[in-house]
Symmetry: C2
Subunit: 341 residues, 2 copies
């Protein structure tokens, strides 16, 4: 009753099933892998694995397929993270060159990850709760309209249009911007509300109504910049692997568009020793994702923006080895670029 062979069998079942998409039987197993025992022996092992709930048979007379638990053990005990191919490395390097602003960076990353894994890739905008205000700017758009621009230490730029209380000249606008900028400089974006009183008291009475409006705008910007967002790519890949996901790709797409779900899931997931977070099937604790697995990794954690993740969503029947390696490599790569920038 060699315990290691059981694992070998599980591994073989997972690999074959991932490869062929069909339930795998005992005979095929001994043939494809060189287990030096007879099918009957394997059958015994399979019976045990089934008792443990690691594999299951769709019908009495069909081969076995891994259960969520089976995948889980496979991932935990067996899979070795596969190194990247040269082509993949090259793709990442070209990414570096096209690195533009912060947002574009994330966008390119997620697209590349989708291409590498042939799956849906997602990336979480970093929670910038520790980010600080670096600069506030105001640009006049018309007599009563102005654009408030807030630049954060993370390099993110947010803007918002406001309607001022009075017509205000460029000079006064400049003065307002200076007060805002100097007064709020280095202030954490999570320190709300803003000291509106101090701000208004620092300018001439005639400007105060407008200053209040501007402060309000800045506050709104900060608030909305604390909300996490998710960028997604490769939804077409979902359809490609539709055979695995049954007819249920609709609800999956919905769950993905409903960013909140994914966001909560990502933040809940904890990294294992390999620096990866994986949820398989029911572990996602979300009904429409019951047939999917999420592989994620944290990135940029050393820059103070902690907890931001990136990853892929695919059918539970996925090639965990390469997916895990791609996700991890991507996370490291992005972390490096961000810390350099």
């Amino acid at each position: 009753m060699s315990d290691t062979r059981r694992l070998q069998v599980l591994r073989a079942i997972v690999e074959d099933y991932v490869h062929t998409r069909e339930p795998v039987g005992s005979r095929a197993l001994v043939e494809r892998h060189d287990l030096e025992v007879s099918p009957a022996t394997i059958r015994n092992d399979m019976a045990h694995l089934e008792e443990e709930g690691l594999i299951a048979a769709p019908h009495t007379s069909a081969g076995r397929i891994p259960t969520d638990l089976g995948y889980r053990r496979f991932v935990d005990k067996i899979t070795e993270v596969r190194p990247l191919t040269a082509a993949e490395r090259r793709a990442m390097d070209t990414l570096l060159e096209t690195a533009d602003d912060h947002d574009a960076m994330l966008e390119h990353t997620v697209r590349l990850l989708a291409m590498l894994t042939n799956q849906v890739a997602v990336i979480q905008h970093p929670q910038r709760s520790t980010a600080k205000i670096r600069h506030v700017d105001i640009v006049s758009m018309s007599s009563h309209k102005a654009l408030v621009i807030v630049i954060l230490s993370s390099g993110k730029v947010d803007q918002r249009m406001v309607t001022l209380a009075d017509a205000i000249g460029d000079d006064s606008l400049h003065r307002l911007a200076q007060v805002l900028s100097s007064e709020l400089h280095q202030r954490s974006i999570s320190a709300l509300p803003l000291p509106t009183d101090t701000l208004t008291s620092r300018v001439e009475p005639v400007l105060r109504p407008s200053m209040a409006i501007l402060a309000q705008a800045v506050e709104t910007i900060l608030e909305s910049s604390r909300v996490d967002r998710i960028i997604m790519a490769g939804t077409a890949n979902l359809a490609r692997s539709g055979r695995d996901l049954g007819p249920s790709i609709g609800p999956i797409l919905e769950a993905l568009e409903e960013q909140v779900v994914l966001l909560r899931l990502l933040t809940e997931m904890e990294q294992d020793r390999r620096g990866l977070s994986i949820r398989i099937g029911h572990e996602t604790s979300h009904d429409s994702l019951i047939e999917t697995a999420v592989v994620a990794a944290e990135y940029g954690s050393h820059t103070g923006a902690e907890g931001a993740k990136l990853g892929v969503v695919g059918p539970t029947r996925m090639d965990y080895g390469s997916t895990m390696s791609a996700v991890r490599a991507m996370a490291r790569y992005l972390s490096r670029i961000l810390s350099e920038g």
Copy 2:
């Protein structure tokens, strides 16, 4: 051989088919609509319609379904744009209140349109070829890094990180920003390349290498801001109507993610007298969209940013009446908000 009845029959076929998703036969037709003739008469009419290529029979013994051409005539001659319901109007009004910056505005619009039509909605970022530079700003991020920010007359803000040639103090940076801003103010974004020589000559020699880098960054920003983008929402709706689109929803998603395709299609489409552009099936001249129809309308055309469109993509078997009305209403609504803002 009443010609108007033929149209009536076509209309009935389209409506029934859109409603039931099943080929419609002569008997059902006379029953559901109160045509005061016998099925046999209808059969004659249908034979004519089939000759004209407006309808087709999937099998010899099945009812008829409209062809692309049939939908086309239906849309051109028959459909009356349905007015919006109160609920729809209300949804649009709440949208107004959540109006934030320019990008968020478009994003909300496209989501709402997706919800209203239960289809995939797309919106084209306005081609800002006529937009002008309103302001250029530089914010120091670290000793050698700075963020270049360009604000356009349309209210769009783009930024880009640059690495400077030398360590430059805040004062000098401010000076550089002022030169850039005043020199480039009101310059059309399509006027490239920038007069780099003039720019560098306006600052002290020690700053010139950095000025060159900054000018280059601005140029890059302008270039990439001229490229149109597409925002999309409601891809989950695609899956919902998957039954209509056969197994081919994969390629469709791909085509949609491949923004270039859609972008070209949208710009090519010309508005009809009702202010709508519609392409049905093969008219999209794109293989993977052969089973879809695109309904679009121009928005914001009076603000100088011309040619930007918004619309929906759905199965050819769609409710053209309500789709058309939703798209047109949305376009008008957005135009109004943009021209007010």
